[in-house]
Symmetry: D2
Subunit: 291 residues, 4 copies
């Protein structure tokens, strides 16, 4: 057992290095104690107010995006999301409008003074995308697509990184580190539910990830309540829980006519429901308005 | 495919019966639209105010329970928990003081005017237990110990039923149905985290279970933030999230000296931390005081 | 960091104790290097040959059990299972025939010279049960029903302990330790699939549990292919995999007419399928016949 | 309820379309009843014999690969794997030698008459890679990197597609469909363990995936026993289980000196262990030699 003790001493020395390494992570609050604030027009993400990102799952047409953007504007929501490149389980499902979709988003957003967030799926599209979008989204299925992370790390456009389907929080932070380590420090983390055995929700919203990520990292944290739950009937309580737990913002999917949506038809909410959602969220006093 | 359609019609008829059956569940809100309210002294659980259940993981001594109960009293908390029969992974771990522990709880609770909640693990102990406790707790490991559920259903004492380690919400509701179907309608449901791959928390708090259970059932819903997280540093944000999501109350473990606790030493909070927890929770305006 | 090293030395000393403790577990191969062999009539479980346990999910009638037992006899299978006390998700589902079911099993088994395995769910039923059964089964939902484990540990009848729905292997071994520590050393472990996100199987057969449990423990290891898969079409390959991985035996459900079974109608196989299953399993040369 | 029946009839019609769609999947055995056979030199994968793929986790040097390849040759193993592009959780871990690594693999493989399998992680590298490798591997983290799948689908080189960390079998088959739908029909599926709560193994080998994938699809099915278990001590029983369950082959990691490996140091086996593994696997009679 003397040998055992020496082995432990050796291990302890190793562990010290690991701790130093962890301390050294660029995403870590040990490295940077103050919050990273990402400025998108008038919106300062991570500075204390609550941000909402909303929009259709997929960009389908100018009219569709226009209608949603108008509702956002009226509700004081400044961040418009919409999918132009869609990672779909089946190759036969609608794969998105591509660059054409990004153009539509840009055009509509400019009309209403909104900022655009859209998912990019191919490293070679990053350069093209930054001409249209204000925030590059990296989706759950690509959280460990390290080539894509590296490409997103080499531009100056802010990145919204979604947690992988079954990523640990540690893996999530390392994925963000890929981006920061390439020079792009404007990263937002987005919890979107993890895969479990439970079947009454599409995924399981890991609410404890919010305070843990806020403690461990200085990056802003969002919760995508649409994908986390897959159920319209609990979007509002889950959004409230997210804000109560310390999230910097909430993301949700809104479509003028969900029943005919080309993707996620079952979980998007329509515009009247969105208006009601915003009114009730604001009424809850959990919502911290931008000053 | 005509045959197929007939098969579907047949299936539909079957499904109708299932729906009726589901409607017929005693736990279902379809069966009883108004909330079940459980009166424990001055505390009305399920009537709109926020209830706190607190106390040590295990009852260890009169002094230990006294010290915690005093703190509860000072914070206006009326519900005292403490384990006398401890279901432990290893047979060599402390198994609880048994009936002696229940006596201590009762004695201390009476001194401070509190109500007692304690876990029972053997169907044959239920009758003995109701002489001491105000609420029978059925723990996660026993959620599908149907003999225990039946025994708890045959008394008039309220029951706090915890969700199993990997129980679906459907199984959870059926477990409660075992109790109600035997005649005991005073059941509270308690989400306490589910088992997932994530390692930074002891379990994963399934926050979406709160609004879903509130929608599907008329029974009060609690969240045990101690077992759901296993981490003291995020108890407060998770408790806030629970209340924001619609929970009727929060449960947590408090010990005068967690470092020497006979069980769950790492996750219980000490009394000063409990005081701070209560103050911050009340300050958040999420806490709805008993009128 | 000197302080850190001392802390590690302290930890190492603690770890040594834990290791000793682990070594001391009665279920551990460190404690007993040779296999535990359980003799059931002519069948020696754990001695190298492959054992089959088969029978209906629930005992429904004398005729039903008779028909299955006859098929077992013809196939040289000596171990008859059948549920008399059924732990069912819903209180409105068939709960089993109770003691009457055990009598039927005993009577039929004696007629064909078979041994009886049946699940007991209430600690207070153990004494009654040992008058009828040769092996007490403790089901997955009761793996951490420690009162039941203690009761099973206090008799001399062999016990088949099934792994919990989401039990770790460590918890599984500790559950067995509850039985051994009370004096009953005749315990068989039964892997029956764990709960995961995958939906094409009822559970996920954790095949790696077989060699790990065989390495870590001296107890015999079975695989319940019916519950692990919930699919008749893959019972045979999974049974082969179990034997190839080192299992001492395989358990499966057989019913004369699965379509009208009072439980598990979808996953039981009928008698012709059972005959074919046995013939193909024996033909595979993985099956080690009793000498 | 008449309305309900009509709704079901409508649903049934929809379901008919889904079934047709499923039938139409190129990966489905309903579409092609005979096995897809992939010819790699003398090795015919999917034609009934058992194939072994072995080699180091990462290509580190010519000497390292040479030493492993020599051992493969001596054991009659024809398929050499080695990672040149390494998807690593941390950006600070060894990321592989890149194209230089592919050159080493090709050179050594040619010397011993072996075929080369290596993972590609960037769609834009596929064209370069096919100059060096005989099989493109798509790793678990990239199973739903649809751009990479599309790129792999547009060349004629066979592809080994690994199941995602928490991919359902359905998603796995759809991922393969992405490749086939682009014209590349030479795809092998590789089960490599799924992510669960169990901690004694790195992942949980889903052995039932083997017979299900063989039933549902005509594509060859491999099992990567190294990543599925993360434990050297159970590689052999798991490999036997894979073959017993119907796998066309087994993949494992071999390194001349695992202790100093630049990745996966804990789970690779050394050359003497590999020799013993091969001898015992062949001795088991589960191994079906190439004729």
């Amino acid at each position: 057992t003397i040998r055992y003790l020496f082995k432990q001493i050796f291990k302890a020395s190793l562990q010290l290095q690991v701790d130093d390494h962890k301390k050294a992570l660029l995403v870590s609050r040990k490295r940077q104690s103050e919050n990273t604030v990402i400025q998108l027009g008038e919106v300062a993400i991570g500075a204390g107010s609550s941000s909402i990102i909303a929009g259709p799952c997929s960009v389908e047409s100018y009219e569709q995006v226009y209608e949603v953007a108008k509702a956002l504007k009226e509700q004081g929501v400044k961040l418009l999301r919409g999918g132009a490149f869609k990672p779909r389980t089946s190759p036969y499902d609608f794969q998105g409008l591509g660059e054409e979709g990004l153009k539509i988003l840009r055009e509509v957003a400019d009309e209403f003074g909104l900022k655009v967030i859209s998912e990019i799926v191919n490293p070679s599209d990053i350069e093209m995308a930054v001409r249209y979008v204000d925030v590059i989204q990296i989706g759950a299925r690509n959280m460990q697509n390290f080539e894509l992370l590296k490409a997103a790390g080499s531009v100056n456009t802010p990145v919204l990184l979604k947690r992988g389907l079954s990523a640990t929080m540690e893996e999530f932070m390392f994925a963000a580190e890929y981006i920061l380590s390439r020079g792009n420090t404007q990263v937002m983390l987005c919890e979107r539910g993890i895969r479990t055995y439970e079947k009454w929700t599409r995924n399981t919203l890991d609410i404890s990830a919010v305070p843990i990520l806020k403690n461990e990292s200085h990056l802003p944290v969002f919760v995508d309540v649409t994908h986390a739950t897959g159920r319209r009937d609990i979007l509002l309580p889950c959004a409230k829980a997210a804000l109560a737990a310390g999230a910097d913002g909430v993301m949700l999917e809104v479509h003028p006519n969900p029943a005919v949506a080309l993707s996620d038809a079952r979980q998007q909410i329509d515009i009247p429901s969105f208006v009601q959602f915003m009114e009730e969220l604001r009424a809850s006093q959990l919502f911290r308005e931008e000053k």
